[in-house]
């Protein structure tokens, strides 16, 4: 009974943050994919400069902590260069997208390279141009291979959104933390409910991942 009462008390507080969590998640996902595709395609470019520059981006953002990247974007860079992002949403979304875009670009690159070489050869024999080969033959096949991993990363991005509470964005974790600091005994209920919140939001993504796996299994082998 006590627990249920506590939940009734905690639930509406957390709900106040759900908008922010979902907004950050949606924008971060979109931009992660955009960065992933751009960087992934650059990594298979013929131009060494493009390839080299992109791999520097990928390695830096994969090799350092997301939280520190977030703090750099929101606190450090504005101070150093006097220009920067005073918009928390933009900083949060940018940090998460750059970080996950770097990871996901490896999936894009790997999938493109995993398409059978015979496909490129057949397209050359049909005299398709380099960009036609990528657009019509290679990419559609590579894309199917990307789907399962892309789904996995969506779930990870959702969980990463909780970090934006650290730059003062009022997401569900932020509201939970406030509540706990004013009412210490509520801690177990708050964090239990937070887990449930994230899990429920992840459910459709898990389902999407499964769907992606099915699609990628279908029709790739010739």
């Amino acid at each position: 009974m006590i627990i249920i009462n506590a939940m009734i008390e905690v639930f509406p507080v957390l709900m106040k943050g759900i908008n922010i969590t979902i907004t950050v998640f949606i924008f971060s996902s979109i931009f992660s994919y955009i960065f992933a595709f751009i960087a992934g395609l650059c990594r298979v470019s013929n131009n060494r400069l493009v390839r080299g520059g992109t791999s520097i981006y990928v390695e830096i953002f994969r090799g350092t902590s997301l939280i520190v990247q977030l703090f750099w974007l929101y606190y450090a860079i504005p101070m150093l260069f006097d220009v920067g992002i005073d918009n928390r949403l933009a900083a949060g979304v940018l940090a998460i997208s750059l970080n996950y875009g770097a990871y996901m670009s490896e999936i894009v690159r790997g999938s493109i390279l995993a398409v059978d070489k015979g496909q490129t050869e057949a397209s050359i024999a049909l005299n398709l141009s380099r960009s036609q080969r990528m657009r019509i033959v290679i990419f559609p096949q590579a894309f199917r291979m990307m789907l399962p991993e892309f789904g996995n990363y969506l779930i990870q991005i959702l969980k990463a959104t909780s970090l934006v509470s650290l730059i003062g964005m009022t997401d569900i974790l932020y509201h939970g933390n406030i509540l706990r600091s004013t009412n210490l005994s509520a801690a177990p209920t708050v964090y239990l409910l937070l887990l449930v919140f994230y899990f429920i939001m992840a459910l459709p993504l898990i389902f999407l991942t499964r769907k992606g796996e099915q699609i990628s299994k279908r029709g790739v082998a010739s």
């Binding site: 024999a125 019509i136 033959v137 790739v220």
Partner: protein, 272 residues
């Protein structure tokens, strides 16, 4: 070797004035330290059917892959219809060909592969009509019509909307041939097109090649292990050994009358 080339040209092509459609001039090709082709001189004439035979590693597949621009020669020139394939002129100097130049010169060449290489995400019909529409800018309706005709010709008119993974190996290879033929090439290359097939499916593929060969106007280069087929279809058989042309001539001469010891050994292994 130069002599033998001249000889075979005159023996196979009655009119000596016909210009070759493909000329290999002193073509060398190495993969790392291994030299696969050691100065190949070879002319192929319009409409001519040439069978390339030889032990594995003798460079026969490399010959046609270089013509399709899938491999670059280490040195030497390949001339297609009077145009240098791998080099182009720029400010009076010969420089390595650009993608644009390669596309211009290889437009008349088609190829069929050992492993079919159909596009798995497209239907049979899409496989055939994509290149005419995208490359030759043919309008969709006419490309579709010609693709359907071609697929009917290879006996797959009832599979238009199937995907490649719904077909047998022999059917896939017939689609691959239709796909290449829709582009109306002047030169068709066949890279061991029956090697990946179950024995009972080889016949249907050979039959299609036989039909294409009968039509005559297209030059065909076949890398093959089907000796009887080479004997039947080819105007000229070339035996490659250790990176050079070791024997060439009319199929009956090469396959039945040659005294070349290496060729004898090679044929013996096939017939036993």
């Amino acid at each position: 070797m130069v002599e033998s080339v001249k000889e075979s040209n005159s023996s196979n092509i009655s009119n000596k004035n016909i210009k070759p459609i493909v000329e290999y001039k002193k073509v060398h090709k190495s993969f790392g330290d291994v030299e696969v082709l050691k100065g190949l001189d070879l002319n192929i004439f319009p409409g001519e059917k040439v069978a390339l035979i030889g032990p594995s590693g003798s460079g026969k597949t490399t010959i046609i892959r270089m013509l399709m621009t899938l491999e670059q020669p280490t040195s030497g020139e390949i001339i297609v219809d009077g145009k240098n394939l791998w080099h182009m002129e720029k400010n009076g100097k010969l420089v390595p060909a650009s993608e644009k130049h390669l596309r211009e010169v290889r437009g008349d060449i088609g190829m069929v592969f050992q492993h079919f290489n159909l596009f798995p995400h497209m239907t049979i019909l899409q496989n055939c009509m994509t290149a005419p529409v995208q490359v030759q800018k043919e309008d969709k309706e006419s490309a579709k019509k010609r693709s359907i005709e071609m697929l009917e010709k290879v006996g797959l008119g009832d599979k238009l909307d199937n995907y490649p993974n719904q077909l047998s190996g022999g059917q896939k290879q017939r689609v691959a041939m239709a796909r290449a033929l829709v582009m109306r090439p002047k030169i068709m290359l066949f890279d061991e097109v029956t090697s990946a097939l179950d024995p009972e499916l080889v016949g249907e593929v050979l039959e299609v090649i036989r039909d294409i060969a009968k039509e005559g106007e297209m030059a065909m280069v076949l890398v093959t292990h089907e000796m009887d087929f080479a004997l039947e279809v080819a105007d000229r058989v070339i035996f490659l050994d250790d990176g050079v042309i070791a024997e060439e001539g009319k199929p009956s001469e090469v396959l039945e009358e040659s005294n070349n010891e290496r060729l004898q050994q090679f044929l013996y292994r096939f017939r036993s």
